[in-house]
């Protein structure tokens, strides 16, 4: 893998982020409603004079293009403005919430890839066997069921029927003074349901995709070669075949990362997970522009980073793409 490729990829990523910033800004400004009224409402009533001073304070009375210019310049310095509602810098707000979101999204991503690929591989081994049928049915259901519905069903199941997992929040209040290890376990315990809820749709997709991909690879000549030299079935499946079958899975996983983040918004809302999704949801209701834009910015940033990483890992996995 050459450095110039990585640099080029990073440059494109930067351009993309600039586009995202501009688009975000314009989209939000196009939305109806006057933020000054909303802010004033939060302060408890407004006269025209107050509204004007709010517009002055937040730069809302300047031409849109000027506002855009100021916004881009600020973003370049990682200044995403102040939340109308919290009266706090947006970066601080997001800083507090991005951790839980990343934890949730990465866990869901890993869970869906590892479990999904494993199911797919097992199913591909005997394409007409019962496991294969199970994977197909499970994949169809998993794919069809909306995330929030799965979440609510799981909450009902684990809140009342088998209460073994916490269904709300990220930490138990009573463990506030516990040691790091206990706290980490507690977070993990809270993480299981939301992560699984978020993962299930992707898990189903990866299972289907890897089943199809494995079936194709298992028919290829080099698999016969591997068998002809005496490789064990496990080595044929998980070493020779999976390395090749993983390439399309990797691509889809990278592309799905964006959807995973928007899925996290719903899951965080359902499970009251203290992440960015929850913040986005609340900010939209409050018309808290800087915060919405900040969340969008960070979400886009994560997607762009994920895509760059996917691209690079694709090259690592497939030697035929290197050096291009």
């Amino acid at each position: 893998m050459n450095t110039s490729y990585i640099l080029r990829r990073l440059f494109y990523g930067l351009l993309l982020m600039l586009g995202v910033v501009v688009l975000n800004f314009l989209l939000i400004r196009l939305a109806p409603g006057d933020p000054a009224v909303v802010i004033a409402g939060e302060m408890g009533g407004a006269t025209e004079e107050m509204l004007e001073s709010i517009r002055e304070e937040y730069g809302l009375n300047k031409p849109v293009l000027t506002q855009l210019g100021i916004y881009i310049a600020n973003v370049a310095q990682f200044d995403l403005g102040e939340s109308f509602f919290f009266n706090q810098p947006v970066t601080t707000l997001i800083g507090h919430r991005i951790g839980p979101t990343i934890l949730l999204v990465i866990t869901a991503q890993l869970l869906s890839i590892v479990l999904g690929v494993f199911l797919g591989v097992i199913a591909a081994r005997k394409p007409n066997g019962p496991m294969s049928a199970f994977v197909s049915v499970f994949a169809t259901i998993g794919y069809a069921v909306p995330v929030f519905w799965t979440g609510i069903m799981l909450i009902i199941l684990f809140a009342s029927v088998v209460p073994i997992f916490p269904v709300e929040g990220m930490q138990s209040v009573k463990l506030r003074d516990a040691g790091f290890f206990v706290k980490a376990l507690d977070v993990l315990h809270h993480l299981i349901l939301p992560a699984f809820t978020l993962a299930i749709i992707y898990l189903a997709q990866y299972a289907r995709l890897s089943r199809a991909s494995m079936l194709e690879v298992l028919g290829s000549d080099y698999i016969r070669t591997a068998r002809a030299k005496g490789a064990s079935e496990g080595s044929v499946l998980f070493k020779h075949a999976l390395r090749n079958a993983a390439l399309p899975i990797l691509t889809v996983a990278g592309l799905q990362f964006g959807n995973l983040i928007s899925g996290a918004l719903l899951v965080e809302t359902v499970f009251n997970w203290p992440g960015m999704g929850r913040l986005a949801f609340d900010s939209i209701l409050r018309r808290d522009y800087p915060t919405i834009m900040g969340v969008l910015f960070f979400a886009s940033f994560m997607v762009v980073v994920a895509n760059i990483l996917t691209d690079l890992s694709y090259r690592l996995a497939d030697p035929r793409l290197r050096g291009r």
């Binding site: 000549d221 016969r224 064990s232 996995a317 035929r320």
Partner: protein
């Protein structure tokens, strides 16, 4: 001297949508230590299925060995356990395939792939196996083997890849090497080089070779003995000289007549009229009857058996009667 590899009355069937089809019907052949047996016949006649049966690589389902025996060094292979077959592939029997372009795994270096074959059957560490792999690459005539060992298959030409396949196949010093149309995908000059290499390998390693081909030129250059196959049966079995100079079976005669000769003033290349009948439509009689210029009534009623009717074993009612 008893034969190294003995195939007796081998019957292989495949489940297809036309019902069960017999791909190999009472196929018998043998290979002695250090000799080369050529197996010739047109596509679909069962050459490759015979080879895959020896390796225990018949895709199952839909295929299965329905009868007969394969003995390598006196050991019965048709009833051997999968583990035993795996242990046998490499040190006892090895195979190289028709398609060097697709027979190597694209995501592993060629050195790794050869080293894997070595480590599967010998108690050596990775470093030693890689050293052996480099020595083998050198042995099969690959220039600067240390660097080439670190190359991926796509970085090598077709001829080089076939050399790598040969290096991998002989890495565990097999007693039998099956070469399934090893030069079909290569251009003519490279074909000659590969045959030279196979001859050298045979001399140095004392390995018996089963050369599957439809190239009569390759047979005259390489083979000691020849088995001619047609529609899943052996129809003539003799020394290479006998088959080339005195072909008995009308089909074998047809094959020899199809060889264009330098200096012979042929206006048209001879051909065998008709095509091989589909296996599920084989009737009671001789499978070649419909294409045979010497067809008799008996040929459509009764399958001719491989028997010594004078010169050498041949399965043809016409020859049988002429010799009576």
């Amino acid at each position: 001297m008893s034969a190294l590899l003995e195939i007796e009355d081998l019957r292989v069937t495949f489940r297809t949508r036309y019902g069960e089809v017999t791909a190999l019907d009472s196929v018998s052949m043998h290979v002695n230590e250090g000799e080369t047996l050529g197996v010739v016949g047109e596509s679909g006649c069962g050459k490759s299925i015979t080879a895959l049966s020896v390796m225990g690589l018949i895709p199952s389902p839909p295929g299965k060995i329905a009868g007969g025996s394969i003995r390598l060094n006196g050991e019965e292979l048709t009833t051997a356990s999968p583990a035993r077959l795996r242990a046998m592939r490499g040190p006892d029997a090895a195979m190289i395939f028709q398609e060097p372009m697709t027979s190597l795994n694209p995501v592993f270096t060629v050195g790794d792939q050869i080293a894997e074959a070595i480590m599967l059957h010998q108690k050596v560490d990775k470093a030693q196996a890689l050293k052996d792999a480099v020595a083998l690459l050198d042995r099969v005539g690959i220039p600067s083997p240390e660097t080439r060992a670190k190359d991926y298959p796509h970085q090598l030409s077709g001829g080089m890849r076939q050399r790598v396949m040969i290096a991998m196949a002989v890495s565990c010093r097999p007693k039998v090497l099956i070469a399934d149309e090893p030069t079909t995908a290569l251009d003519v000059t490279v074909q000659a080089q590969i045959f030279d290499l196979l001859n050298e390998i045979q001399r140095d390693f004392g390995v018996a070779i089963i050369l599957i081909t439809h190239d009569m030129g390759a047979i005259s250059e390489m083979a000691d003995r020849v088995a001619v196959m047609y529609a899943g049966r052996v129809i003539e079995d003799a020394s290479a000289d006998d088959v080339l100079d005195y072909p008995q079976h009308p089909y074998a005669r047809g094959l020899i007549d199809c060889i264009p000769a330098l200096g012979r003033d042929d206006h048209r290349l001879a051909e065998i009229p008709g095509v091989v009948p589909p296996l599920h439509l084989l009737g009671q009689g001789c499978a070649f009857a419909d294409r045979c210029a010497f067809k008799q009534d008996r040929c459509t009623r009764e399958k001719p058996l491989l028997g010594s009717h004078g010169h050498h074993p041949v399965a043809c009612h016409g020859i049988e009667e002429a010799r009576l």
